[in-house]
Amino acid sequence: MNVSMVVNGEACEIEAAPNALLVDVLRQTLRLTGVHVGCDTSQCGACTVRMNGRAVKACTVLAAQADGSEVTTIEGLGAPGALHPLQAAFQETHGLQCGFCTPGMIMSALDLIESGERLDEAKVRAGLDGNFCRCTGYHNIVKAVLLAAGANA
């Protein structure tokens, strides 16, 4: 079937099987390999992208459901030399090590920051409980999100 999306600001039309997952279309068809796959039960959050301004786990969304949507992946957030403040905050606070969970973590954290809620450590920790990180113990990720939230305030 035909799926039309705006991905990272660019309109695209692709052919996808009715059972194709959004994550596979993004990774394989559009080669947006910053979107990662870390599990098969929608627990780890490595595949988190934004669809119509909300964070979704792309492994749990059919490509067909994304028809007509605006999708933002990590590649659309900011680039070297023009980092989004949240990306910059992850580097500044050492909020990543192996980098595998990082794109999903950043896309989830963006939701949290843009929710408009006043964030503190407990709220950030609760808000990120759908994203696993095995390297950082979350300590510096929490710092990164709070730093970026402050920068946005």
Binding site: G38, T136, Y138
Partner: protein, 777 residues
């Protein structure tokens, strides 16, 4: 330029990771690539009576099916264990042969017996599901506790016992315990863990028929070791006809050290079919087939005199090896475990026995800390329990027994070169505000909560290892590391290391080391790792060895570069080499105003017009650094927990770590390593548990069953360091990667048992277990 060392310089590799430009194995797409999916045993133990390839090959898109017999016919051998352990009677450990794809019998759930290659991933999956295999289920032995009395798993291996190994002086220890005025005895399990790097294992194999060369890109912590084992032991290809590339790797924690069946079969099949093949594990496969960690049953006895002075420690451990010996599966519960049982203490007599036994479960091998968390758990739990029994403050009993003089030779074969254990303990007591704990406990009780405080004063052995000693103890490889520095004609340098970074930040830390030694800006240094086609033979990253061993190799190469630079510049400045000083990237002729920059010398080396007679052109040096001893990081971790007696939920309300890692190059990265290790240690203590039922089915085979630490399970950590420089490597560095996972489980469980007022609470201290302990049911 020395201002670079010790600075929290932001990581250069982050830029690609935070913008989605990282290049992990599954991100690679090769023209014409096909896909592999493995058929895996649903049984813990079964006889393979037959495999009907046609059932899968009939499906659209399926290209070929290979079985273990095909690999064997192709000359592929069995997966070796790289460390020979001998039993106390002198006999070699008993090794169950492990073909990459099972041929006659499968011995754990998830063991692969065939691989289906297809044009698409979906077709390969459908093919593996359609593949008809006649498996006759056999009785299985999954439980560790009964493994020596149960069903014999492998022919010729009685009692499922691979080795009965010991270390230390048995008679002396028995006598010490006999003379003791008090003996504290503890029996406990060290729970099985599943490593769970967030990137699942994967590989892409491409065969170049013109060169007759296989290029295997895979998620490995040590590409050269991978290549050595695949060629020398598995006969995949001549060593020089296999290139192993380990690109960005999404976490390892030990689980990506080992050579696994999957990349063996895929690399072989890519050549057999002359087609590129990709395999990527899904998480369910990772749970079943990654090597697991820990899984010990231990009884320990600590004898002391009336003052609490330790006289002797006797330890008996049964270690689960899983169904087969994984790459370093025999070394972890022996040399990496029992040699650490002295801990920070002067216990004069120590004796440990370890039974390494097979079970019908996934192979068990190194996982962050690898033996040292298990040893620390034994020592620090029993010391804390002894203090409680003797009614001596747990800090005081440690001070009465702590090692103060170095070098210190332990009764279990190690020589600690340096340390200051009381300093890190004292600093941790302050940082954790232990003085204020009684008041916090009272306040918690007023809220109906139970509060506890626990210590772990750990030691670890890192920087493995002196090759000669390791090989004499059964190690199958040297444990040096390579480091090469190629100075380019323009004066920039490319540094090649045999270490591998899968999150540790080598591209930044190693650039700091090289830039500092050569006196050039960091942006003039490129660090390259993870490709047998680009760098010298190296041993890779595990055991917190990268900086102490790999970093030292780069220092040695930098020293050689400077020495040659002095020859070149002396000639050009019309002086002698010993009259040339090198500082901050400038060669100066002593007593003159003549000087040459590093860049000018580099250029001269490649445009050798005015050049010393007989000296080779070029400026490129390599070193293989072989350490003379292990390094001994040590420290004190203090956990404070609060338990809700209504629910049994344990909250870690504070965690303090003060570690001595020797000299530190980048404190930001070091703190990050501690955070991650502590999180995994708290995970072991409170959440994580790999559980098989009696039939050998993995009950914790997904993230819905295996409790990974999430952001809201953990506190922020208080982390500091103290420094006693390692005495025997040029950086004075000891290693920091595993400390958190080593210290945290004992600290947390000492806090939990302190809060509960009883010792018999097992890891993980889940709400159910804690609630039962409180209710006495």
């Amino acid at each position: 330029m020395n201002a670079i060392i010790g600075q929290p310089i932001r990581r250069r590799e982050d830029i690609r990771f935070i913008t989605g430009r990282g290049r992990y194995t599954d991100d690679i797409a090769v023209a014409g690539q096909t896909y592999a999916v493995f058929a895996r045993s649903p049984y813990a133990r079964a006889k393979i009576r037959g495999i009907d390839k046609a059932s899968a090959k009939a499906l659209a898109g399926v290209i070929e099916v290979f079985t273990g017999a095909d690999l064997a016919a192709g000359g592929i051998g069995t997966l070796p264990c790289g460390w020979l352990v001998k039993s106390t009677d002198g006999s070699d450990m008993k090794v169950a042969p492990r073909p990459p794809l099972a041929i006659e019998q499968v011995n754990f759930v998830g063991e692969p017996y065939a691989v289906v290659i297809a044009a698409t991933a979906a077709a390969a999956k459908a093919g593996a599901e359609a593949l008809e295999a006649d498996l006759e289920e056999l009785p299985a032995q999954a439980a560790l506790a009964t493994a020596m009395e149960g069903v014999q798993i492998h022919d010729g291996i009685e009692k499922n016992l691979s080795f009965h190994w010991s270390i230390g002086d048995q008679a002396k220890t028995d006598a010490a315990l006999k003379a003791a005025s008090h003996i504290t005895t503890l029996t406990f399990a060290n729970n099985r863990l599943i490593p769970n790097a967030i990137e699942p294992r994967a590989c892409v194999a491409v065969y170049d028929a013109a060169a007759d060369e296989i290029t295997l890109t895979t998620t490995s912590q040590n590409p050269h070791v991978e290549r050595l084992i695949l060629t020398a032991f598995l006969n995949l290809a001549p060593e020089h006809k296999l290139r192993v590339i380990s690109p960005d790797v999404g976490g390892g924690f030990g689980s990506k050290i080992f050579v696994y069946p999957e990349e063996t079969a895929v690399a072989w099949a890519a050549r057999a079919l002359n087609r590129p093949i990709k395999w990527t594990a899904d998480r369910s496969e990772a749970f079943l087939s990654d090597a697991h960690g820990r899984d010990h049953l231990t009884t320990a006895e600590l004898g002391m005199d009336a003052n609490g002075t330790f006289l002797g420690l006797r330890v008996k451990t049964r270690a689960n090896l899983g169904a087969y010996l994984s790459t370093f599966g025999s070394a972890v519960p022996t040399y990496l475990y029992a040699t650490l049982l002295a801990g920070q203490y002067k216990t004069p007599a120590i004796y440990a026995e370890v039974d390494g036994v097979y079970t019908n479960t996934a192979p068990v091998d190194a996982y962050r800390g690898a033996g040292r968390p298990e040893a620390t758990y034994v020592v620090e739990r029993i010391v804390e329990a002894a203090a409680r029994e003797m009614k001596i403050d747990p800090v005081e009993i440690r001070r009465r027994n702590v090692i103060r003089e170095f070098p210190y030779e332990t009764p279990v074969a190690l020589v600690y070169d340096i340390g200051d254990y009381e300093q890190s303990l004292a600093r941790a007591l302050k940082l954790a505000d232990v003085a204020g704990f009684p008041a916090r406990r009272v306040a918690a009780e007023a809220r109906g909560m139970k509060r506890g405080l626990g210590y772990a004063c750990y030691i670890e052995a890192c920087g493995l290892a002196p090759s000669k000693i390791a090989i004499s103890l059964g190690g199958g490889v040297g444990l040096f590391e390579s480091g090469e520095i190629r100075v380019n004609p323009t004066g920039s340098v490319t540094a090649f290391t045999g270490s591998h970074s899968h999150g540790q930040g080598h591209e930044t830390t190693f650039a700091q080391v090289v830039a500092s030694k050569l006196g050039i800006p960091m942006d003039q240094v490129e660090v390259v790792h993870g490709d047998t086609g680009r760098m010298e033979y190296g041993l890779g990253t595990y055991g917190s060895r990268s900086l102490a061993v790999g970093g030292s190799a780069l220092v040695r190469s930098a020293e050689k570069i400077i020495a040659k630079g002095k020859l070149i510049s002396a000639h050009m400045m019309e002086t002698t080499p010993d009259e040339v000083e090198f500082d901050e990237g400038v060669f100066t002729a002593r007593g003159t105003n003549k000087k040459m920059t590093f860049g000018e010398v580099a250029f001269a080396a490649y445009v050798p017009a005015n050049y010393p007679e007989g000296l080779e052109p070029g400026l490129s040096e390599k070193s293989f650094y072989d350490p003379v001893n292990w390094t001994y990081p040590a420290g004190t971790h203090i956990a404070e927990v609060e338990i809700d007696p209504e629910t049994g939920v344990v909250e870690v309300v504070a965690f303090t770590a003060v570690d001595d890692f020797g000299e530190i190059i980048n404190p930001m990265i070091v703190e990050g390593q501690v955070h991650g290790g502590v999180a995994q240690g708290i995970g072991q203590a409170l959440l994580e548990h790999g559980i098989y039922d009696d039939d050998g089915q993995l009950l914790t085979g997904s993230y819905m069953d295996y409790a990974m630490p999430r952001a809201d399970d953990l506190p922020s950590f208080k982390v500091e360091t103290t420094v006693t420089p390692c005495t025997h490597n040029p950086l004075g560095a000891k290693g920091c990667g595993e400390a958190g996972a080593i210290g945290a489980p004992a600290a947390v469980m000492n806090a939990v048992t302190d809060a509960l007022g009883r010792e018999d609470v097992a890891m993980p201290a889940t709400p159910e277990r804690v609630w039962r302990a409180l209710q006495g049911v």
